[in-house]
């Protein structure tokens, strides 16, 4: 995927793309039953909804104002048949009651059918969203760290939330109600034909006008809305920028100018809306006038037919009522265009995420060397971006049980080395070995399972302390958690908490001290009990209090394990059996603390600069 422009998110494409649609249909297919049920229900629902005018017409012709010789409608015939079976008289008030009851019954039927349809279809939508979210989330779990470096969390969240919502719109309001709209329209057309073909044809004269007018309006309003969106974005950008930079505005006495500039952007935004208002102001009266035109045609032609005796008054009234129902489905249908367009754009983005195949994967036949705790780099080169080498020909080895400290300035490549052992990235050249085997030949889970990572600012999840130690590994029992906490010397403070191990941590472990957070992460390492430890100290700035808190637990964790320490603290460096000094991606010196001090090179300078003060601080403490 190429570097995304900031506006990538807003691009809207076609409303229909066969390739995307086919792929989307795959998400629908497990719920075909719901889809079919939804469509059947909406068909019958709209059918009963259309009954009202027809029943009113029949009531007029049969019971309220019967006229000898006038041709009755098919609804009247049907009613006569049903009433006959029930031995119910359709004459006079008894007939009125019959038709009112039939009207009520069809209303209730339509109510239940429509309710069931909306319910079933929306449940289906929820299930599809559930599936999609899970697929996206699972995909992100397996994607490369490098991919996540390039894609900000906010964008991934958009894929998982708003894009999935846009697809839900398509499945719930889109497909099914489009079928419903089409059917309503067809239903009216068929009903009118059955009632009176000639009058139906006259009524349909307005149809092309309605369709054309609606299409014109939609096209225009879409254009103006595109304009509005652009201007609104400009308005918001200006506002955001000036809120952020208000100090500069004030320092440079630009308040008045800023207000003037804002007013003109604000005015452009308003002007775009005024155009939209115009189209809407034309559309609504236009709908009324076209309806009236239809009504006028019906009254004129239908009236003449009534005079001729070829049409009953009831049917005429039914026509009058149906003619007013044309608009909604047509207008709704054209509205669906936006839903389709948004859904296609969203699905394109979602699929692009899902199609980004991870490059760092387990080989088909992974090696499983015996766990010993040996680490090695042989002539390793690495760069995150082309041209900028972060590691240059790095070689070193750590024997089982050895404590290796990586020392160097920020940006010297220390953290990168740890990332390569865990195979977050692959080296561009050279070999990275764990337990004597190239990391690329490992099963990923097996490789990473051989390490425990302890960060100075550990990442704690919003979950209980026990969960944070177990990290979802169900095979770690509660008693193992307790033992790990004891080994880490975290147990005393945890057990003092009111809910103990079940204490739910705030976001990122807020409410705990830095030392306590780290103790939990040390306990985590004990619980997983790997043979290799990666210890990443983010800064040297750790207060003595914290240092005291964690010293014990950390020391116990380091025994019997191979440790790779990205070191900033003198105390940890001193414990190391060997120090590797990195400078601008290269190994510059290597040896014990005493050897390197005696060498008088880079480490000696770094020591004077960064660690001497710590020594001064550490002495009174112990």
């Amino acid at each position: 995927m190429s570097a995304a422009s900031p506006h990538e998110e807003e691009v809207l494409g076609k409303a229909y793309d066969a390739r995307l649609a086919r792929r989307l249909f795959r998400y629908l297919s497990p719920y075909r039953g719901s889809l079919v049920a939804g469509i059947v229900l909406i068909l019958f629902g709209s059918l009963f909804q259309l009954m009202g005018p027809a029943l009113t017409a029949a009531a007029l012709d049969v019971s309220i104002a019967p006229r000898a010789g006038a041709k009755a409608s098919f609804v009247a015939d049907l009613a006569a048949f049903v009433a006959g079976r029930l031995h119910w008289s359709l004459a006079g008030k008894s007939g009125v009651a019959f038709f009112a009851a039939a009207f009520l019954a069809s209303l209730l039927l339509s109510f239940f059918l429509t309710y069931a349809q909306v319910w079933i279809v929306n449940l289906m939508g929820q299930r599809i969203m559930f599936d999609l979210r899970e697929e996206i989330f699972a995909h992100i779990q397996r994607t490369d760290v490098g991919y996540l470096d390039r894609h900000p969390v906010g964008r991934l969240m958009t894929r998982l939330t708003s894009d999935v919502d846009a697809l839900n719109e398509l499945f719930t309001s889109g497909i099914v109600s489009m079928v419903g709209d089409v059917f309503s329209l067809l239903g009216i057309v068929v009903a009118l034909f059955l009632l009176n073909p000639a009058l139906a044809l006259v009524t349909f004269l307005t149809l092309p006008l309605i369709v054309g007018f609606t299409a014109w309006f939609r096209k225009r309003s879409r254009e103006t809305y595109r304009d509005i969106r652009v201007r609104l974005a400009r308005l918001n950008a200006f506002l955001q920028e000036h809120i952020t930079g208000m100090a500069v505005v004030q320092l440079f006495n630009r308040e008045r100018r800023a207000r003037d500039d804002f007013a003109s952007i604000n005015d452009a935004h308003r002007a775009a809306y005024v155009r939209a208002i115009f189209y809407y102001s034309v559309f609504y009266p236009g709908v009324e006038i076209l309806s009236a035109l239809g009504l006028g045609l019906i009254v004129w032609y239908g009236g003449s037919e009534v005079i001729r005796g070829a049409l009953s008054i009831g049917v005429l009234v039914a026509f009058i009522q149906y003619a007013q129902r044309f608009f909604r489905p047509i207008s709704d249908l054209s509205d669906k265009y936006n839903i389709l367009q948004a859904a296609m754009a969203a699905s394109e983005r979602v699929f692009r995420l899902l199609d980004a195949a991870p490059e760092i994967v387990s080989p088909p036949a992974p090696a499983r060397p015996r766990k010993s705790g040996r680490l090695a780099m042989e002539g390793v080169f690495f760069s995150y971006a082309r041209g900028e080498e972060v590691l240059k020909n790095v070689s070193f080895a750590a024997e089982p049980g050895e404590k290796l400290a990586l020392v160097g300035h920020t940006g010297a490549g220390k953290t990168t080395i740890a990332s390569l052992f865990l195979r977050f990235y692959d080296a561009t050249r050279g070999r990275v070995r764990v337990d004597g085997e190239d990391v690329r030949r490992f099963d990923l889970d097996d490789l990473r399972g051989r390490f425990a990572v302890v960060l100075q600012d550990p990442f704690l999840f919003t979950a209980s302390i026990a969960e944070n130690i177990r990290l979802g590994n169900r095979s770690i029992t509660d008693s193992q958690i307790r033992r790990a906490a004891e080994e880490a010397r975290a147990a005393p403070f945890i057990e003092k908490l009111p809910a103990g191990y079940e204490t739910v941590l705030q976001e990122r472990g807020g409410g705990l001290s830095a030392g306590q957070k780290q103790l939990i992460s040390i306990a985590r390492a004990f619980a997983f009990d790997p043979e290799i430890l990666v210890l990443d100290e983010a800064t040297a700035n750790i207060d003595t209090e914290t240092e005291m808190e964690i010293r014990d637990g950390l020391a116990r964790l380091l025994t019997r394990r191979t440790a790779l320490v990205i070191a900033h603290r003198l105390s940890t460096i001193r414990q190391a059996s060997r120090i590797v000094v990195l400078h601008r991606g290269e190994v510059r010196e290597s040896g014990t603390h005493a050897e390197l001090l005696a060498l008088g090179g880079l480490y000696a300078k770094l020591y004077r600069l960064q660690y001497r003060d710590q020594e001064a601080l550490a002495q009174p403490a112990g």
């Binding site: 559930f130 996540l148 006495n253 308003r270 009236g303 005079i307 990473r448 990572v453 979802g472 300078k605």
Partner: protein
């Protein structure tokens, strides 16, 4: 609703248009409601066999009514919705103008996102109240009044029966709407939880992978994903009810009219035409009544949003001109701090700082993060307000100097340099709109920006920011310096403004700045102490107090905190160059 009077004030300029719009509602509705009776008379006429020509006249009348009513409907929308856009325009300008008057302290405590949401989302809700809200309310009142009168003229009792279900409709809309609202909030609540969970996972990608927790993370996510779905399904149960219920309740009125109205026709109390006419009136009433619940909602949301906007609007701009003022003040550049103290949110930041900075002198300020350096320099242009009687400029108490004059005399480069999305030249001339191209380029040269500009696509006219090129941190800082010196200020304040350029470039820029300075007072906050070697005086701040003061040589000789910092930095440079 707060500040009703201020609210009404926004209506004042548009009184005439609102009155005209209301008149249009009356006319369009009044005319449109003539159609049913014409249809009714046509039908009655048909029963007594009228001429075809008469039928044609009826049809023409129906069309004519729609045309006339349509014209007023058009005008009504244009006038009333247009007014709401104009008022939105006014309110937004007013809101932004107020923002420009609020001091830095306000922006430090307010999140940008929150201000944006008030200026955008809340204003939209207010606009919806003013436009569709007001128009639809008027429409409902007018339509209901006229239609009920006309229906009652057909038959009083039938009217009562037909309308009995309409309040029920509006009530049901509101009740179901509220229930959906409550359930929706629960969904939203859980939504934030689910997305927080996912966000946390994405941010912790390395930890998840390092501990091989991918599968269990998927499982945990599945749980919250399922809970979210279940909560949504609870909403669906209610929300699926909404439209079918509405349709049924409205349909009920028609059932009642068919049943009772049919009997009235049979009893000869009304004609078939009147019966049809009555049905048509009812159809006209349906939408305004359904809309009632929606309108009430619009008005409530609008009022709540108006209150949220007023919370900001009612903030007093604390930093402003209060007489008596010294007219026509042009600063020379002498600054005096007399036991200057400053606190924010109850926490003292500066305590009893005293210093005299002579006009034309070069003063450095050093100290750890949080020692009060930035606060100290922000008090001079009154971005933050110092207490009365503790800060003087050329011997004048700072509050007596008109703000515009004070700031015009100061060029300040803040720590987080901020440039606007416009051309580079436009950014440089931000404080001096009349500057000539030549002057702009000279300032750019002094700030050491000229070599970079050669590489830019449109040189000085290159667009910066979102729609243009992105400057590096060092380029931004140099542009901000050029912007400040272009105003030829008597006082130049640089708050750690060259942190992102290397020390060699920094030294060159500094020497040029001094050459161009003339008699300018320069205050420099620096982390790199080498840049303060030529300072007349250096103030070392610690927890808001001056701990040491003196020239570079004096301070190094003293062997205190400054000397220790100097020592470290020299070593650091050695390591860097190793």
């Amino acid at each position: 609703m707060k500040d009703r009077r201020e609210f009404l004030a926004f209506f004042r300029p548009y009184r005439a248009r609102i009155a005209a719009g209301t008149l249009c509602i009356l006319l369009s509705t009044g005319v449109a409601l003539m159609a049913p009776s014409i249809v009714g008379r046509a039908i009655d006429g048909l029963k007594t066999s009228i001429s075809a020509a008469a039928v044609l006249r009826f049809a023409a009348a129906i069309l004519a009514i729609a045309l006339v009513s349509g014209v007023f409907l058009f005008l009504q929308r244009r006038l009333l919705i247009g007014v709401s856009r104009d008022m939105e325009f006014d309110i937004r300008n007013d809101f932004f103008a107020h923002l420009t008057r609020l001091p830095l302290g306000f922006y430090r405590e307010q999140r940008t996102g929150d201000l944006m949401s008030r200026a955008v989302n809340d204003l939209t809700a207010v606009r919806m109240m003013l436009g569709p809200g007001v128009m639809q309310s008027l429409n409902t009142v007018v339509t209901a009044t006229i239609a009920i009168v006309l229906m009652a003229r057909v038959d009083g009792r039938l009217t009562l029966l037909a309308l009995a279900t309409l309040p029920l409709t509006a009530g049901a809309t509101k009740i179901v709407g509220q229930r959906i609202h409550v359930l929706f909030e629960r969904v939203q609540e859980y939504f934030s939880e689910m997305s927080a969970r996912a966000q946390e996972n994405f941010a912790a990608a390395r930890v998840v992978r390092a501990f091989v927790r991918e599968e269990s993370e998927i499982e945990i996510f599945r749980e919250s994903n399922r809970e979210y779905m279940l909560r949504n399904r609870r909403i669906i149960k209610v929300s699926a009810l909404f439209y079918p219920l509405l349709q049924t309740l409205v349909g009920l009125s028609f059932v009642v009219v068919l049943w009772r109205g049919g009997r009235l026709v049979l009893d000869g109390r009304i004609t078939v035409g009147r019966f049809v006419e009555f049905n048509l009136y009812l159809a006209e009433m349906v939408w305004p009544m359904i809309a009632l619940g929606w309108v009430v909602n619009l008005l409530q949301r609008g009022a709540a949003s108006w209150n949220r906007m007023r919370e900001i609007r009612n903030r007093e701009p604390e930093i402003r001109d209060v007489p008596p003022l010294v007219e026509g003040f042009t600063p020379r550049g002498e600054i005096e701090l007399r036991d200057l103290s400053y606190a924010a949110g109850g926490a003292p930041i500066l305590r009893d700082v005293s210093a005299t900075i002579r006009a034309g002198s070069f003063v450095g300020i050093v100290g750890r993060t949080g020692s009060g350096k930035t606060t100290l320099v922000s008090l001079i242009p009154r971005l933050l307000d110092p207490p009365e009687g503790e800060l003087f400029l050329d011997g004048v108490e700072i509050h007596r100097i008109p703000l515009a004059d004070l700031r015009a005399g100061i060029g300040m480069v803040t720590q987080d340099t901020f440039l606007f999305s416009e051309t580079l030249a436009g950014n440089l001339a931000y404080g001096s709109p009349d500057a000539e191209a030549e002057a702009i380029e000279r300032a750019g040269e002094v700030a050491g920006l000229a070599p970079d500009v050669e590489e830019f696509p449109d040189r000085w006219q290159t667009q910066i920011g979102e729609r243009g090129i992105t400057l590096s941190g060092g380029q931004k800082q140099r542009a901000a310096i050029a912007r400040a010196i272009l105003r030829a200020p008597a006082i130049l304040i640089l708050d750690d403004s060259l942190s992102a350029v290397d020390s060699e470039t920094e030294a060159r820029i500094q020497s040029r700045l001094r050459d161009a300075a003339g008699r300018r007072t320069t205050i420099l906050i620096a982390h790199r102490l080498s840049s303060l070697r030529d300072a007349d005086e250096i103030l070392v701040l610690e927890e808001g107090r001056i701990r040491e003061r003196g020239s570079h040589a004096e301070l190094v000789a003293r062997g205190g905190a400054y000397a220790a910092m100097w020592d470290r930095q020299r070593l650091e440079e050695e390591v860097e160059s190793a």
